[in-house]
């Protein structure tokens, strides 16, 4: 009786633990930076970089992850110790300011805040802490502050490249875009660029663009709608479809990947990151993705902060197409050249996407 008590407790807890281990256990995406314990007082590093995610995980295969990879890469380039970079995953939209304050209190030099939604909190923190550099990913700066850089992108540029690709690949003369909400300006920019790019190679092309009709909180997390809309576009003869809108767009990509002729007569184009890696289910049809190069943008800004050449205000990151992966052989060299020329033209301003005019 006496002995059985702790044994029973142990057995129960072990059983429970096994049960829980069967579920996906929470594991940090990258152990570097946040693996070691109790290092707040460690003064080994002179230069420390912290990152606050938007609500969600740091390994979200999207913005949070790309930004964190940028911090990790910058730390390697600058020779920072593992303990000099850390992240906090935000649990609640009310906690943005608190989470940034954790880094400020611990004497961090650079704080990366990821996402449009953290804009207000980041601006306030930058005003209160002029000695700390802030990098706001996807945060447009209305008024420039010397210690706050908004890393933003010309989405219309990468949309334009996607449009050139889609317009050139299409045999039916009809292409489509399945989009998150038009409440978010970058999504509109992607679409307008896409249409302009497609028209630049085929003036008569028919583009079916469909925005999610719901509110912001649903528009990017509705894969069923994305799939249904993609199906509809296919039925209307579209043979290249651009999925731009988080999980909603992913739903469209996955639908096309299972359609008849996927990868042969029907293609899809992803968005934001190289979705060949982030949505493997879309690989059968995924020729490329219209990317925002968040990782190199973060690396550049962190490096500039450490060099004392931090650019306040808006900082434009590069927009580009992702590699073609398995479709590389299928893309004609002329099209590859055309895309390179287009990219150069967009950068030097000789090509205008028409967005924002």
């Amino acid at each position: 009786m006496k002995a059985s008590r702790p044994v029973k407790l142990l057995v129960f807890l072990t059983a429970l633990a096994l049960l829980l281990a069967a579920c996906p256990a929470p594991m940090p995406a990258t152990d570097s930076g946040s693996g070691a314990a109790g290092t707040a007082g460690d003064m080994a590093g002179e230069f420390k970089v912290g990152l606050v995610t938007d609500v969600g995980r740091v390994n979200d295969r999207s913005f949070n992850q790309s930004a964190w990879e940028g911090v990790v890469a910058a730390a390697e380039a600058l020779g920072l110790a593992e303990d000099d970079i850390k992240y906090i995953e935000t649990q609640d939209a009310k906690d943005y300011a608190d989470n940034m304050q954790q880094f400020i209190d611990a004497g961090y030099n650079v704080i990366v805040s990821v996402g449009f939604a953290l804009g207000d909190a980041t601006t306030a923190a930058a005003q209160e802490n002029p000695d700390v550099f802030f990098i706001g990913v996807d945060q447009f700066q209305g008024e420039a502050m010397s210690n706050l850089a908004g890393l933003i992108f010309n989405e219309d540029h990468s949309g334009y490249l996607a449009g050139v690709l889609a317009g050139s690949l299409s045999r039916t003369g009809t292409i489509a875009a399945v989009l998150g909400t038009d409440l978010v300006p970058p999504v509109v920019a992607f679409n307008e660029g896409y249409i302009a790019g497609a028209k630049s190679v085929n003036a008569d092309i028919n583009v079916i663009s469909t925005y999610h009709p719901g509110e912001i909180s649903q528009a990017f997390v509705d894969p069923e709608w994305g799939a249904a809309t993609a199906k509809q576009a296919l039925d209307q003869g579209a043979d290249v479809i651009f999925g731009a809108g988080g999980i909603t767009g992913n739903g469209a990509l996955q639908e096309i990947a299972t359609a008849d002729g996927a990868g042969e007569t029907v293609f899809c184009i992803g968005v934001d990151t190289d979705q060949w890696n982030t949505v493997p289910a879309a690989q059968p049809c995924l020729v490329s993705s219209a990317m925002k190069l968040i990782t190199p943008g973060v690396v550049e800004l962190v490096t500039m902060a450490s060099d004392g050449e931090f650019p306040g205000g808006n900082y434009f990151g590069d927009a580009d197409l992702a590699p073609f992966h398995d479709f590389d052989d299928m893309i004609a060299q002329e099209l590859k050249d055309l895309l390179e020329e287009t990219k150069a033209g967009l950068i030097d301003g000789s090509i205008d996407t028409g967005y924002g005019n």
């Binding site: 009786m1 006496k2 008590r5 029973k8 407790l9 129960f12 807890l13 072990t14 429970l16 633990a17 829980l20 281990a21 256990a25 929470p26 594991m27 940090p28 152990d31 930076g33 946040s34 693996g35 070691a36 314990a37 109790g38 290092t39 707040a40 609500v55 995980r57 850390k86 992240y87 906090i88 995953e89 935000t90 649990q91 609640d92 939209a93 009310k94 906690d95 608190d98 989470n99 304050q101 954790q102 880094f103 209190d105 611990a106 939604a117 909400t181 038009d182 409440l183 978010v184 300006p185 509109v188 925005y211 509110e215 912001i216 909180s217």
Partner: protein, 383 residues
């Protein structure tokens, strides 16, 4: 060897009863923390560092205490909301929707009526918030009484309605000419949110930034005392408890059962609505869809952990406030993802909802006849 004293103590003395009431919740919390530690060990993390960071984040300094208190306030009110309904054997799963309605009603008053003095505007906005929740709570009560629709189903469904309705009120419109929502901030561009609440409707800071603790903390305390007084010291509370224990007997005794059910659901909704109003007027100073009512669901756990007693709810809310308040520091200090806190909170719910597991683990004696009837168990039976 004899069993622990707690389990065998005489149930007649007040102190013993209190201690016994605390026993299961405390052990449930302990078991959840232990299980959380096991999860951390299995995923290669150090639980001591994690819990050290958690404690430091929740109580380590003034900012930590401020975070804990700030997080505790809504838990107290949504916990009270669920607990009050439990006393009448009603299962209020709708605190989340009631919270949202409270936020929307409060912000609607808070962003309008410029020029009113604080002592008029702020109470008005708070009352509006209570009214929003009250309305949202009364609907399932009325439907239960007049149509027999179970309050669990109705409150769950109304959560969705509230969430979408809240989103619509602040909808920014679209580039294709959609009409924006009535509370949308016209200067916010593409962002769906309300303007800031006017200063005259903001709850003043008790401790200003960076602490950001407002006077709402006293409102939450007052609400707990008021609910305690209502349940245990008023004839109405007696009627509520009687309906909760045995609806038929209550009806025989001449208690207005239907009235009591509707009133209780409305009051429960009002408490959750007040939570939304306080969060909106005290902390967020605006409403946006991302300030949703997740805290309403946690209210269920808080109420159960607090044994549906107002004082217990206060303690449970404080525990949850500390867990949430320390989570970010825990991740900062130890690298353990803050998600572990949600696992622990879910385990607490599992353990308090199934006290048998706790009794089995810690080898406690079966409960005496007197308090065997759990507040929850009768919910599905009575109509």
């Amino acid at each position: 060897m004899r069993r622990p004293v707690l389990a065998t103590a005489s149930p007649t003395t007040g102190i013993a009863r209190t201690l016994r009431a605390l026993l299961i919740p405390s052990l449930a919390l302990l078991a959840a923390l232990l299980a959380g530690a096991v999860v951390m060990i299995l995923s290669g993390d150090d639980p001591m560092a994690a819990y050290g960071g958690l404690f430091k984040g929740a109580f380590g300094d003034g900012k930590g205490w401020a975070r804990t208190i700030r997080k505790t306030i809504p838990f107290v009110l949504t916990g009270l909301s669920v607990a009050l309904a439990f006393k009448v054997s009603l299962f209020n799963i709708g605190a989340s929707g009631q919270f949202v309605m409270g936020s929307v009603f409060a912000v609607a008053v808070g962003i309008n009526f410029e020029g009113l003095p604080v002592y008029v505007h702020l109470p008005l906005a708070l009352i509006a918030g209570i009214a929003g929740g009250l309305l949202w709570g009364a609907i399932p009560g009325i439907l239960k009484v007049y149509t027999g629709a179970h309050e669990v189903i109705v409150t769950i469904m109304l959560n969705y309605v509230a969430s979408l309705l809240g989103g619509w009120t602040v909808y920014a419109g679209g580039t294709q000419g959609q009409t924006p929502g009535p509370l949308w901030d016209r200067t916010a561009g593409a962002i769906s949110e309300t303007p800031d609440v006017l200063h005259s409707a903001q709850i003043p800071w008790l401790f200003g930034p960076p602490y950001r603790v407002h006077y709402g903390v006293f409102l939450a305390l007052a609400a707990a005392i008021l609910v305690w007084w209502l349940i245990f010291k008023t004839p109405l509370g007696f009627e509520m408890r009687t309906v909760g224990h045995n609806m038929r007997a209550a009806r025989y005794a001449g208690i207005r059962v239907n009235f009591t059910i509707i009133l209780t659901m409305a009051l429960a909704g009002g408490l959750a609505g007040l939570a939304g109003a306080i969060e909106t007027l005290g902390l967020n100073h605006k409403f946006a869809p991302e300030f949703g009512g997740a805290v309403g669901f946690d209210g269920i756990t808080v109420a159960l952990l607090g044994q549906t007693h107002p004082i217990g709810v206060l303690l449970a809310a404080f525990m949850f406030g500390a867990l949430d308040g320390g989570a970010a520091t825990m991740q900062f200090e130890s690298g353990v993802p803050a998600d572990i806190i949600q696992i622990i909170q879910a385990l607490v719910l599992a353990f308090v909802a199934a006290p048998l597991i706790i009794r089995l683990i810690f080898r406690l004696r079966p409960q005496s006849q007197e308090d065997a009837g759990s507040a929850v168990s009768t919910s599905w039976g009575g109509t």
